[in-house]
C-alpha cells in the first residue's frame, strides 16, 4: 500500500509537468497581460517596464523555468486582477467547488445506481425503456439550460429552493442536481450495461444454481462486480464534472473555482488560471487515486 502510494505520487510528477507546460505555452501564446493591466494611455516605456518587472521579456524556456521553480515552492505568482497571491485566491474557492462536486456525485450515485440495476434486471420492459430514455435525455440537455429551468420552476415560481448562492443545504440542491444530471445519466447507462454483462457471468449462474434468492443474486453477486468498472469510469468523469461546474457555478452564482476561472481567463489573469488548472488537475488526479484505492478494495484480485 505504501509503495503503491509512493508510486502514484511519483507518476504524478510527469503529468503535472506536462500539464503546466501545456497551460504555460497557451498563456505564453496568449500574449501579454500587460495591455489589460495598464491604463490605455500607458506609454511603450511603461509597458516595457512592467513587462520586465514581471519577467515577461525573457525567452519562453526561461519564463517556464522560473515558473516551474516557483510553482514547486507553491508560488504561482500574483493575480494581475486582484494583486494577491494567486494560489491563495484559488484555494479560497476550493471548498465551494468540492461541496458542489461531492453533492452532485452523491446525487448522481443515489439516482443512477438503483436505476441502472432496475433497468438491467428488467431488461426490455417498459421500465427499462423509460430509464434508458431518460438517461439519454439527461445527457442531451445542456446543463446551463437545465439550471435556469430549475431556477425558474423550483426557485422562483414555487420557491422551494433558494435561487442562488452558497450557504445552507437547500442552496446546494439545485446546483447539485443540475451538475449531477449528466453524470447520473452516464452512470445509469454504465451501471445498466455492466449489470447486464455481469448477470451473464458464470458465477452469477453458479449463485443461482445454489438456489439463493434473486435479491442475493442481484445485490450481492452482481452489483459489487458491476460497481468496479463504474467506480473507475466515474473517476474519469470528475474532470467532466469540474468542467460542468464551470457552467453551473455561473448559473447559480456559486462562488467556486469555475466562476473564478472563467473570469480569470477573460481577464487574462494567467497566474490564477495556472494555479486553478493546477489545483483542478491535482483534484482530478486525487479523485482518480481514491477511485483506484476503492477499486482495489472492491476487487480482491488486485494486490498492492
Amino acid at each position: 500500500m505504501k509503495r503503491f502510494l509512493i508510486q502514484r505520487l511519483l507518476q504524478l510528477i510527469p503529468v503535472l509537468i506536462i500539464m503546466t507546460f501545456i497551460v504555460f505555452s497557451l498563456v505564453y501564446v496568449a500574449g501579454d497581460p500587460v495591455a489589460l493591466m495598464l491604463p490605455e494611455e500607458a506609454s511603450p516605456e511603461d509597458v516595457a517596464r512592467v513587462q520586465e518587472s514581471l519577467g515577461l521579456n525573457e525567452p519562453f524556456y526561461v519564463q517556464y523555468g522560473i515558473f516551474l521553480t516557483n510553482a514547486v515552492q507553491g508560488d504561482f505568482g500574483q493575480s494581475y486582477r486582484y494583486n494577491q497571491d494567486a494560489m491563495s485566491i484559488v484555494l479560497e474557492r476550493v471548498p465551494a467547488t468540492m461541496e458542489l462536486a461531492i453533492a452532485s456525485m452523491i446525487f448522481a450515485t443515489i439516482i443512477a445506481i438503483p436505476m441502472g440495476i432496475w433497468s438491467a434486471t428488467r431488461r426490455n420492459t417498459f421500465i427499462d425503456l423509460f430509464i434508458t430514455g431518460s438517461s439519454v435525455l439527461g445527457k442531451a440537455m445542456p446543463n446551463f439550460w437545465l439550471g435556469i429551468m430549475f431556477i425558474l420552476i423550483l426557485a422562483v415560481n414555487t420557491q422551494i429552493f433558494p435561487v442562488s448562492g452558497r450557504g445552507t443545504f437547500m442552496h446546494v440542491v439545485l446546483p447539485a442536481i443540475t451538475l449531477g444530471t449528466a453524470v447520473a445519466a452516464e452512470m445509469t447507462r454504465l451501471t445498466r450495461s455492466n449489470m447486464i454483462e455481469i448477470l451473464q457471468q458464470d458465477y452469477v449462474r453458479t449463485a443461482k444454481a445454489k438456489g439463493v434468492s434473486n435479491g442475493i443474486v442481484t445485490y450481492k453477486h452482481s452489483f459489487r462486480n458491476a460497481l468496479i468498472p463504474v467506480v473507475t469510469i466515474m473517476a474519469l468523469q470528475t474532470s467532466t464534472l469540474v468542467g460542468g461546474a464551470i457552467v453551473t457555478e455561473q448559473v447559480f452564482a456559486w462562488p467556486g473555482i469555475g466562476q473564478l476561472l472563467v473570469q480569470a481567463v477573460n481577464a487574462r489573469d494567467m497566474a490564477i488560471v495556472q494555479a486553478a488548472v493546477f489545483l483542478i488537475a491535482l483534484l482530478v488526479i486525487f479523485i482518480n487515486f481514491i477511485a483506484d484505492v476503492l477499486y482495489r478494495l472492491l476487487d480482491p484480485r488486485i494486490k498492492y
Binding site: 431488461r123 451473464q200 457471468q201 458464470d202 458465477y203 452469477v204 449462474r205 453458479t206 449463485a207 443461482k208 444454481a209 445454489k210 438456489g211 439463493v212 434468492s213 434473486n214 442475493i216 450481492k220 453477486h221 459489487r224 462486480n225 468496479i228 472492491l298 476487487d299 480482491p300 484480485r301
Partner: protein, 342 residues
C-alpha cells in the same frame, strides 16, 4: 412405467431460444432417465445441446430461452412446470451443478467461505458457525489442504484445480440427490483432470449421489460412467451402457466419434474423421439430422426423421439402419437400381 429406482426422467424435452434471428430449437425432444446413485454421461460435439439440457433441468435457461415442451420428472415433481421460486428450493439442495469453467464460475470478489456457506445457509437450518464448520469439512473432503485457510481466501489465489474442487465441494455441500457436472474438467490439465475425476468417483461412492456428466471427451466417459447418452443436434441419438457402447456403437455418429478420438495405445493409424460440421440449430437438415455427414445415408434418411428406438438390453438408437422395414426397402431399391447410396 415408474421405476422405484428412478430419480430423474426427462421426456421429450424441448428448449427453444427465441432469438432475433428466429427460433433456435437447441434441445428438440430429448428423453432419458437417471437412476439413483447412477453415473450417466451425456456426450456429443460442441453445440449439440448438452448444456442447454442440463440448464433446463436446473430451471436456469435464460431469456430468450424457454422450455416449450416435455416433462422433467424429478422424483415425483415435474420441474418443467416449476416457477423460479419453487426451483430455488430444488437448486443447490436436491440438484446441484458444476460448471465448465472453474476460473469464472466463482465470484471473484467474495471469499471461498462466503460462497460455500451461502448454499448451506440457504437450504439448511443452521447458524453461521455451523455452516462454516460444514464448509471447511467439505473442503477437506474434496482434498484441499489447509482448508480453514482456503476458506478465507479469494478465488484468484487458488489454482484451477483447487477452484474446481471448491466448486465440487459447493455442489455437494447440501448432499444433493443429483449432481450435474457440465464439462467439469475441460479447462484443466490432464494431470489435474485425473485428480478431479478420481475425486468425483470417490465422493459419489461415499454419498450415493447420481451424476450426470456432460462432456465430449470419450476418454473421460470411458473412465468414469455407467451409462452414456449420445446427443447430436439437439436430440439423443444413442443411449447405452458404457461397455456396450464402446464395444459396439450402433449409430454412425457414435461410431465416427469413437473412431476420430486419437487413442494413445495405437500408433500410426490414419485417424478417421467425420466429414463436415455439426449443423447449427437454425439450419437443421430435413430428415435425419446426421444424414449430410453420414457415410451410410440413404434416400430414406434425407426425407424421414428417425425415432429413438429401443433395442436389446435397454439400448436406444435413432437411426434408420436399424429399422428392418426401411432397410428391406432400401435393399430392394439397390437391387433394382444398383449400389445403394453411400
Amino acid at each position: 412405467m415408474k421405476d422405484e429406482n428412478q430419480l430423474l426422467n426427462v421426456s421429450n424435452l424441448q428448449t427453444h431460444f427465441f432469438t432475433e434471428n428466429g427460433t433456435v430449437p437447441s434441445v428438440d425432444g430429448v428423453s432419458f432417465q437417471v437412476n439413483k446413485g447412477e453415473l450417466v454421461a451425456i456426450v456429443g460435439e460442441s453445440g449439440s445441446g448438452k448444456s442447454v439440457t442440463s440448464l433446463s433441468i436446473m430451471g436456469l435457461v435464460e431469456d430468450p430461452g424457454k422450455i416449450v415442451g416435455g416433462d422433467i420428472m424429478f422424483e415425483d415433481k415435474n420441474l418443467a412446470t416449476y416457477t423460479n421460486k419453487q426451483m430455488r428450493k430444488i437448486r443447490g439442495n436436491d440438484i446441484a451443478m458444476i460448471f465448465q469453467e472453474p476460473l469464472t464460475s466463482l465470484n471473484p470478489v467474495f471469499t471461498i467461505g462466503n460462497q460455500l456457506r451461502e448454499a448451506i445457509l440457504q437450504h439448511q437450518n443452521v447458524d453461521k458457525a455451523t455452516a462454516k464448520k460444514m464448509s471447511i469439512d467439505m473442503l477437506t473432503q474434496v482434498g484441499i489442504p489447509r482448508a480453514d485457510k482456503v476458506y478465507n481466501s479469494f478465488p484468484h489465489s487458488l489454482s484451477g484445480g483447487m477452484r474446481q474442487r471448491v466448486m465440487i465441494a459447493m455442489s455437494l455441500s447440501c448432499n444433493p440427490k443429483l449432481l450435474i457436472a457440465d464439462e467439469p474438467t475441460t479447462a484443466l490439465d490432464v494431470t489435474i483432470q485425473a485428480q478431479i475425476l478420481e475425486l468425483m468417483k470417490d465422493l459419489v461412492k461415499k454419498m450415493d449421489t447420481a451424476i450426470i456428466l456432460i462432456t465430449h471427451d470419450l476418454g473421460v466417459v470411458a473412465e468414469l460412467v455407467d451409462r452414456v447418452i449420445v446427443m447430436y443436434a439437439g436430440q439423443v441419438v444413442e443411449q447405452s451402457d458404457v461397455f456396450t457402447l464402446f464395444k459396439d456403437p450402433k449409430h454412425p455418429y457414435t461410431k465416427g466419434l469413437l473412431d476420430s478420438t486419437p487413442k494413445i495405445q495405437d500408433l500410426n493409424e490414419e485417424l478417421i474423421s467425420i466429414k463436415g460440421t455439426v449443423p447449427t440449430p437454425a439450419n437443421m437438415p430435413e430428415g435425419c439430422r446426421f444424414h449430410p455427414r453420414c457415410p451410410h445415408a440413404m434416400d430414406h434418411c434425407i426425407s424421414h426423421e428417425p425415432q429413438l428406438e429401443t433395442m436389446e438390453n435397454g439400448r436406444e438408437v435413432r437411426c434408420w439402419l436399424f429399422d428392418e422395414e426401411v432397410m428391406e426397402h432400401e435393399r430392394q431399391k439397390s437391387g433394382n437400381e444398383g449400389t445403394p447410396q453411400k
